[in-house]
Structures are given as C-alpha cells and as structure tokens.
Subunit: 306 residues, 2 copies
C-alpha cells in the first residue's frame, strides 16, 4: 500500500497543521497508511498548542511529485504544495471557497461553510464511530479557537461552538483560559522581522485576472506593528516585485478588540478603498469589526476585482 | 425568503432530473424554499421513471440570473445553466471530478466517488433523520440503475448496491425487472434524428487547452446506430463547426453486453487512439468492456490531452 500524504496550506496556521495531524489519526483508525506533513514553519501559536497536548509537528516537505494526497483546510492549488498538479487528490476536507482546483477523476470532497476544518473533522469521527483521543480533541479545539479568534469572528457558527464544547470535555481543559493563552502566544510581533510578519499567515488569491496577496497578523497592540510601517512597506514591495502581485494587503488584527488596520500596496489600492468603503491614509485604513480574511476581506476584494 | 433553485446538468439524464427532485424534497423537509428545475428535455428513460412513480417533471429554465442555487450531479460551469457565473452556489452534491468550478465564498460541497448522486442523497436522508417516501425512493433507485447500467458499470460501488437494495424495499418494486424495462425505454434509437442522438447525453469538457465533446448513446443494437454513420458524422461536423470543439467523441454503448463502439471526429482523433490504445477504422473503434464515460473515457482522454 502506497503511503498517502495529508497536508494543509502554505504558511501553515493552527487549523492547517492540526487538521493534517487529525486526518492522519482518522485515516489510520480506518486502516489507511496516511502521513501528516507540512509545507512551512510552525508559528508561535501552533507551537504552543502542540506543546500543550504533547504532539510532535508533522514532517516538513518542500514539494509533491506524483503522490496520492488528502488536502485539509485548503483547495486552491496556488496555496498548496509545489507540484500539486502531479498529485492524485483522493480527498479534500475544507471550509473555504473553491477556486483554482481541479481533478481528472472523481474524489471525496467535503466542504462546509463553518468556521474551522476541525469542526467538520469532529463530525467525521462521529459519523464513522471513531474514538477522539484527548490529545486529538485538544488539537481540534485549538484549531477552532484559532480560526474563530475565540468564537468572536463572524465566521464562527453554532456548529463550531458546539464542537468546541464537546472537545473541551474530552481534552480536559478550559477553552476560554487556554484559548486566550494560545492566541497571545501567537500574537507577539516585536520578535519578528518584517519578512516574518508578512509570512505568518499569508495566502495568494486569483481575483479576476489579478493576483492578490492577503497577509494577516494577529496582535494585542496594533500600534506596535505600525511603528515599523516603513520597514514593513519595504518588505512588501520586495515581495511584490519578486512575485508579481497586483495588490498586497496586510491585515493587522487586534484580537482583544476585534478590529483591524489594513495596509495596502500595489497597482490596485483603489480596489481596497472601494471594497471596504474607506479612504487610505498613508496606505492604511481602520476596518472596524473586521477580523476574518475569509468572510470580511477576500469576498469583498474579489467582487471589486472580478 | 428567496426561492432557491436546484438543478443538474444540461442534456439531463435520469440521475440529474431525479436528483433535483430529491434535493427539493430533502430541503423542503428541512424547511427550505427550494424548487427543482431542469435545463433540457426529459429523455425516454427518465420519462419512464417519472411515469412509474407518478412524479411530474421539474420546470424547464433556460438561464440563471443571480439566483441562489444548489447544483446536483455536476459542477463544471460549461455543463451548467447559462448565467451560472451570476449565481450564488450554496451547495453542490455530486459524484464527478471537479473542474471549471469556483465560488467567491465558502459553501457546502459534497462529492463522493460513488456511482450515482442518488447514493449520496440517500445517505443525507439518513444522516438528517428525514423520511424517504416511496416515490422518492423510486426516483433514487432509478438514478442508480441508470448511472450504473443496472450495476454493471465499473463506476458502481458497494455503496450504490446497498443503497439500491434499501430503496427497492421502500419503493416496493423489483430492481432487476424494473431496471431492465427502464433502460430499454431509453435505448431506442431508431425514432431519433442524428441531432437528437448526439444530445441524449452529451457533455463538454475542458482538457488541457482543448474543448472536447463526449456524447453517449445507450442501445441494445450497436449496428442499428452505425447503419446511420454518415448521417451522424454530418451532424457531428455541424455541431463541431458551430461550437468549435477540438474533438467530438460519440460513445455508443451496448447495455446488454457492456461494450461500446466509439466514433471520433475532429482535430485530435489521434488522442482517442492513444487514450484507448486502438486504431480508428473509418473513424470508429470497438472499446471492449467500456461503458462508463466518467471512469473509462474522460480521465483517459484528459491524461492524453493535458
């Protein structure tokens, strides 16, 4: 039996890393030879969660070359492993829009418009009568807390909250106190270079004919990040020149107050002003109540640019 | 509440028509205002099934203009309603490859590599504890029989067979005798013009940069069809000229003996020879054991043309 690889997106976040580990467990319980791998470095928040539940990080890979794969927490090929076009995609479990994804054969694809991949995976354990071990519950709970910013994001659904309550019991921790500690562990920005900040959680999107990069940084102090605006703009311009982005949008999110400040650079700054009905001042604008890239940033930009 | 439309692909077959009707029932039981519609004429086989279970055909529509929609039995936009790009796709339930499909927002997407959409819909009734009425069971059973050619297609899985056995009980009919009658009702070719034959069950596929049309005709007498080869070739050439296909493949399938004879016309005939390891003679070749477009024709052509 050939080994099947399972992984999430580039610039992995907590949902992507833990969902690969959870999928590995789920498939192994079903008798399949599946290995969780990752496409990038573990961020501070995810490291905190793995440490808490004593689970090792997946193996790092840099490309795919004809393997059978299960994608979690993403589907868009430009967010996936280099060489993904050569893979046979057997399964996808995801909670994002579908775009730039295609297969030549039928597959198992499960997407639901919930806040977190882990919420869908938790259902799959129940549907298949499989056991959720405490550390697996802890990983899924961490993913839900991360993706919903402790249930405050507009992407958070009743199903996410219900799953978190179930998983909290199995994992044996308090979701609010653990969750705030975990988010804070990922919200430190002072110790990171501008390049590192831009790649904590960044994804590329095709919008109409445009290639748009949307990076997000969680923080407890927005001003601390923007004190370094010039350094960050230089890093954005360098990335844009290297990768040919038509627009680069950095969303800096205050996880305590649930607001964001956006920094937009590139040919299509006007699209940002139109999408959010704001005027940019020194390339920036406050986006009140915006915390979700998926629900409050990408669709709005896509509508303007398509 | 705005009405949601649900429909299958163009040139509708039995699975596409019945899956729209079944989805309408499933969603209405869940309190949603959903109407099944169709994108083309009802074929002889489907008419037989609707008559058997006393269910009216869905309303015919010719385009979509900004509605909320649920797609069944397809996802590729070129197989869907004109104007599908303007729709908000809320849900897809399908058993095909994914290609030329994208959304700007997350959605509910459920695909499984089984023989028939109805097999997935039958699961959804059970997962949601909804009642399967006898006529709905009859429609789902008809779809499974149609898509699996009475369980003989290589696309047929254990899940399809198990679903058919459950549905046979609820519908109160014998699946083998009913199934053969239904397939024969759809297999009459003598009463159809060449243009009608080409559109009983035809789909367009993007393969690499090529646009490929693959039509399938079920019959109990392959020779009866090929006695009209010249007339059929003229009709294919006219359709190809009008629509700019790079390749037109007609698969004529003997539903009793489970073989097919292929007729290929267009710039890329050589792709057919390579895909099936055959030499075309007068543009035709016998494909032993080939009955499934999805599993035995489209992936093979896609691999050669991509």
């Amino acid at each position: 039996m050939t080994k099947i690889l399972t992984f999430g997106h580039q610039n992995p976040d907590t949902d992507t890393i833990t969902s690969a580990l959870v999928m590995q467990d789920l498939q192994q319980q079903a008798g399949k030879d599946v290995e969780a791998v990752r496409l990038g470095e573990i961020n501070g928040e995810t490291a905190f969660a793995l440490e808490q539940f004593k689970v090792a990080a997946p193996r790092l890979i840099d490309k795919i070359d004809g393997e059978q794969v299960i994608l979690v927490d993403h589907n868009e090929f430009q967010q996936s492993a280099p060489g993904i076009e050569t893979a046979t995609v057997l399964m996808v479990v995801d909670h994002h829009r579908i775009s730039n994804f295609e297969t030549s054969a039928p597959l198992y694809y499960r997407a639901e418009p919930v806040g977190c991949t882990a919420t869908i995976l938790n259902k799959m354990y129940k549907e298949n009568n499989l056991e959720v071990k405490p550390e697996i519950a802890g990983l899924m709970l961490s993913a839900i807390i991360s993706d919903t910013l402790l249930f405050k994001s507009p992407t958070c659904t009743e199903e996410d909250i219900q799953a978190a309550e179930e998983l909290e019991q199995i994992a044996g921790i308090n979701k609010e106190s653990y969750g705030l500690d975990m988010l804070k562990a990922g919200a430190s920005t002072a110790d990171k270079s501008a390049e590192e900040l831009l790649n904590i959680d960044a994804k590329s999107f095709s919008m109409g004919e445009k290639e748009v990069r949307v990076a997000q940084v969680n923080t407890v102090d927005i001003d601390e990040v923007f004190a370094r605006q010039e350094e960050i703009e230089n890093a954005i311009n360098a990335e844009t020149a290297q990768n040919g982005y038509d627009l680069f949008v950095l969303v800096v999110t205050d996880i305590i107050n649930s607001d964001s400040k956006v920094l937009a650079l590139g040919q299509h700054q006007a699209a940002v002003e139109k999408a959010f009905n704001v005027a940019l001042d020194k390339n920036t604008a406050i986006l009140k109540g915006v915390v979700s890239r998926k629900k409050q940033v990408v669709p709005q930009l896509t509508d303007v640019l398509s």
